[in-house]
Amino acid sequence: MAARRIAFQTSMELTGMEELGEQFTTNGPREARNIARAAVHALAGRARDVLKRRVAKRSKALAKSIKAVRRRGKPDFPISEVRVGHDAPYGLMLEFGTSDTRAQPYIVPGVEELRPQMAQHYRDEFGAKYEKAMARKAKAAAKAQKL
């Protein structure tokens, strides 16, 4: 039980959340949702790139078939998914193997490779897109003032 305690005894302190919340209230929830949606899709793009890299040497057609796709979700729950094998239906067979070919997994190892860095990637993507959105707003405001 001691080991269990050690493993799960982690805490995280986020500072600046109030300011961020305030910013989103000011700039509108719609803007925040757009940024979150773009950040989630960028994460899916990173997953797509990892899978493509892992499979590129085995099958170029399969690598080409791996795509990050936006799915219709709820406004506060953006969903993007990575789809494999539309033009190369043997993607599943390569991952799991068949009765005469050994499994050469690329999806699970790719996802597991990305998993530990997922939160950091999300922060990076969200931060970059937030800064861009703010820069756009500032530019638009400056333009409006000139007029």
Binding site: A3, I6, A7, T98, S99, D100, A103
Partner: protein
């Protein structure tokens, strides 16, 4: 994280599956000479299963795994995923699903003794049955996630 932990985890899963009575009741004996256990394999019994006699089925093969670091300040840990394959020649998915169910019952949220490691949890993550392209064989895939810490 160490390779030794991965070896110990695989050994523990192999031993657990071989010793599991409900799973053992469904499997024939191992194909390898001098091996008196049930048909749970580390390496597949053949490179092409169409060469195998029907009596060799169903069997279970420990598949690929992944390991990621899960260290804390004062201990070394790792998060591991283990994929296990079940192969059957039963005309339909019933048998392969029964084998997968037995594997699930043997491992999901159960205690597992791993040499040099404390298993914090072992959870079922994913299961799929696939009709093999040869038209005869049914293939089941089940994956578990484990969190372990060095003792």
């Amino acid at each position: 994280m160490s390779g030794a932990a991965s070896v110990a985890i695989q050994q523990a899963i192999f031993t657990k599956l071989r010793a599991d009575a409900p799973l053992g009741a469904m499997l024939p004996t191992s194909l390898f000479d001098g091996d008196v256990g049930k048909a749970v394999y580390d390496r597949p019994p053949a490179s092409n299963y169409s060469e195998l006699a029907v009596g060799v089925f169903p069997f279970v093969v420990i598949g690929d795994d992944t390991a990621a670091e899960f260290d804390t300040d004062d201990s070394e840990g790792q998060e591991t995923t283990v994929t296990i394959h079940a192969w059957s020649r039963y005309p339909g998915k019933k048998e392969v699903k029964q084998v997968l169910d037995a594997i699930y019952n043997a491992l999901h949220n159960k205690s597992l003794t791993v040499t040099g490691q404390i298993v914090i949890f072992i959870f079922f993550e994913f299961m799929e049955t696939i009709a093999d392209p040869d038209g005869l064989t049914q293939h089941g895939v089940i994956r578990f996630r484990l969190l372990t810490q060095g003792t």
